[in-house]
């Protein structure tokens, strides 16, 4: 590195947003968590293949920068609603992978005590109000949480994650309208991975960019490259500032891609092998972020190796924890349907 270039990087003045906003240690933590999301989902997938986890799951592999970028400026007590593709959001908001694995294994130590599984993973203590099996189901709920924030004056910001498929649900439109009318502290994050199950956005959505929908509800509509952590984090940061200032909601369209199929039943007949391989080889969000960190001198190969090793241990420990945890007693079947009276 030349002296001049080093000086610029050291001053960080010309670097992308996150390198100016966050400390090197915070950024290395981001890389750690992006790996944690990736390896968690690979681990879950392997456990599923080996028959240790039943049901189905929707993997967000390839979308890690989106989850991490959006959650980066959030405080611990800020809240999110998530989707069926919600493992990344859950980890990004602060969940422990051991309790997530335990949930996938259907154990009592899981976040939902084995009642929710992958599609309803939540971590209420960390502000994750839950993934959702209904497309767009969480969007009005996020608006309601934002209404609580405004009425109780807690200062909390609420993020609603959803996919491109949700932008054609009525709940999306009703929720955005109400959030705008009432100027609520909520951020709508559309992770556009190109396909609602098998149907491409080109075939399903009348606008070219989902962010254009924001104009209909008089809120800013922002498009970011969802695979570039800094771009996502910058958009989220601005939206959080706007929300906290009482200026109302923002719609962020984070354009990304899922490497895996929609769910475990997907045979990938609606997209080409070349398309998938291109995204994996050239636009992988972890590779892009890792290279940037290395280029800017925030981490070296040894540091990267240490993160990968630490993540591998965390995943292995998490799976062991899940395996060793107790299953729920059949006698507890009807627990949690109603609030128990002491």
């Amino acid at each position: 590195m030349t002296g001049a270039r080093k000086a610029v990087i050291d001053s960080r003045a010309n670097l992308p947003f996150v390198y100016r906003q966050y400390s090197p240690e915070q950024l290395r933590q981001v890389l750690h968590k992006m790996y944690l999301i990736r390896r968690f989902e690979e681990g879950a997938e392997e456990c599923y293949t080996r028959g240790l986890i039943h049901g189905t799951m929707h993997l967000s592999i390839g979308q890690e920068a989106s989850a991490m970028g959006i959650c980066m400026p959030l405080a611990e007590d800020d809240q999110i609603t998530s989707t069926h593709r919600g493992h990344g959001h859950c980890i990004a908001k602060g969940a422990e992978v051991s309790r997530m694995f335990a949930e996938f294994f259907g154990k009592t130590t899981g976040y939902c005590k084995g009642r929710g599984g992958s599609m309803h993973i939540a971590d209420v203590a960390k502000g994750n109000l839950g993934a959702n099996g209904i497309v767009a189901g969480g969007i009005p709920i996020a608006v309601g949480a934002a209404l609580s924030s405004k009425m109780m004056k807690t200062g909390k910001v609420v993020v609603s994650f959803f996919g491109d498929g949700a932008n054609n649900e009525g709940a999306f439109h009703e929720a955005l309208n109400m959030a705008a009318v009432w100027k609520l502290p909520v951020i709508f994050v559309c992770e556009n991975n190109g396909y609602g199950m098998s149907t491409s956005t080109a075939r399903s959505t009348a606008v070219k960019n989902i962010a254009e929908r924001a104009a209909a509800y008089s809120m800013p509509g922002v498009i970011v490259n969802g695979n570039i952590f800094s771009e996502v984090a910058e958009a989220s940061f601005k939206a959080v500032e706007r929300a906290r200032a009482g200026e109302g909601p923002t719609l962020i369209e984070s354009k990304t891609y899922r490497h895996r199929g929609h769910s475990k039943s997907d045979r990938n007949r609606y997209r080409t092998k070349e398309e998938i391989e291109d995204w994996m080889a050239n636009r992988d969000p972890i590779t892009l972020f890792e290279n940037e960190l290395r280029d800017f001198g925030f981490i070296d190969d040894k540091g990267i190796e240490a993160i990968r090793d630490a993540v591998a241990r965390e995943i292995a420990d998490g799976i062991e924890f899940a395996k060793a945890s107790p299953a729920p007693e059949i006698a507890t079947l009807e627990n949690y349907v109603y609030t128990e009276h002491a």
Partner: protein, 332 residues
């Protein structure tokens, strides 16, 4: 006025309950279509917006699905919303949030949250509003674990059950028959609750148990009064709650009278009468039955516009009298 005889209409009783709830707890607020300055389609919220302000009596856009979802989200994050559907028929537009979210959230999250949400549904026929504004859909929601579903039949219960619903940590769906809104009755002042899940014997009798819901309770009482002169002594059980249902009160009554007639306005087939009948047939009361169980419910048709047709769609007093008489005299 003597407090003991103070009378309010059913609508006034609900309004008073909402005001008391808002006075007692700043987390309680109202949401719904045209519930502010308009006062609600049936004037149930009335002038509450003037007393509590537009921040606590919130007019929503005409967005039943989104509005219901906002109420769910507010409930799980610390508020206590009372959400008014303008007509119970519009529950069909909000069903996703009611059935998939509100009812299941606590369960899906392993007990980590509660959903202290009250939803009010003006229901029923008799107003000439035809097929899309006259339905009785309580059994739809009664089929969903996680929800509580109530049908107060008197002004007294409308107030007390609403206050019980607001205090309840779980989602409570209140079906209010629109023809009851003007019904007057004794309503005590101040705060009191009427328990959810407990039926009430409105009239004691020996010969026949009529289990009725909502507006059919009064019709059953009218029928019972008419049959008194014929020496037929009818017990009327006001079910009040359809989930969780008060099994014991019904079974005990049938054991006493040995005959059961179920009267409800909703479509007869697969309705609450089927549940009550099965409940009795599965219980020790079965051995006490002296006659087949009879159900009187709504006709297998949407609610028609023509007033004569509309009346003929749902049970009326003469039909209840005839069915009760037949049952007791062994014609059935």
């Amino acid at each position: 006025m003597d407090a003991a005889v103070r009378e309010l209409s059913y609508a006034q009783a609900i309004q008073e309950a909402m005001a008391i709830a808002m006075d007692m707890d700043e987390r309680v607020f109202l949401m719904g279509e045209d519930i502010g300055v308009y006062g609600g389609a049936f004037q149930v919220t009335g002038d509450l917006v003037e007393r509590y302000g537009a921040d606590r009596v919130i007019d929503t856009p005409i967005s039943e699905l989104g509005g219901a979802g906002v109420a769910v989200g507010a409930a799980v994050t610390g508020m206590r919303p009372i959400f008014e559907f303008q007509f119970s028929d519009f529950a069909t537009l909000g069903m996703e949030q009611i059935v998939n979210q509100a009812a299941k959230m606590r369960f899906m999250l392993g007990g980590e949250v509660s959903v202290p949400l009250v939803m009010r549904f003006p229901a029923g026929s008799g107003t000439g509003a035809a097929a899309q504004h006259s339905q009785s859909l309580e059994a739809w929601l009664g089929h969903v674990p996680g929800l509580k579903v109530i049908q107060p039949a008197t002004p007294h219960d409308a107030k007390g059950m609403l206050l019980a619903a607001v205090a309840d940590p779980d989602p409570v769906m209140i079906f209010e028959h629109k023809l009851l809104y003007k019904m007057k009755g004794h309503v005590p002042e101040g705060h009191y609750t009427v328990p959810i899940g407990k039926a009430e014997i409105r009239r004691e009798g020996r010969d026949l148990t009529i289990v009725a819901t909502s507006i059919m309770v009064q019709k059953a009482l009218d029928a019972a009064a008419a049959l008194e002169g014929e020496g037929i002594d009818i017990e009327v059980v006001d079910l009040r709650t359809i989930r969780p249902i008060d099994r014991q009160t019904v079974i005990d009554s049938v054991k006493k009278t040995s005959r059961l007639l179920c009267v409800y306005e909703a479509v007869k087939t697969l309705g609450i009468g089927a549940e009550v009948s099965a409940m009795v047939a599965e219980s020790e009361a079965f051995d006490y039955l002296d006659a087949p169980i009879v159900r009187l419910g709504g006709a297998e048709t949407p609610i028609p516009y023509n007033p004569d047709l509309e009346k003929a769609t749902v049970p009326q007093v003469p039909g209840i009298i005839a069915a009760a008489r037949d049952l007791v005299k062994g014609v059935r």
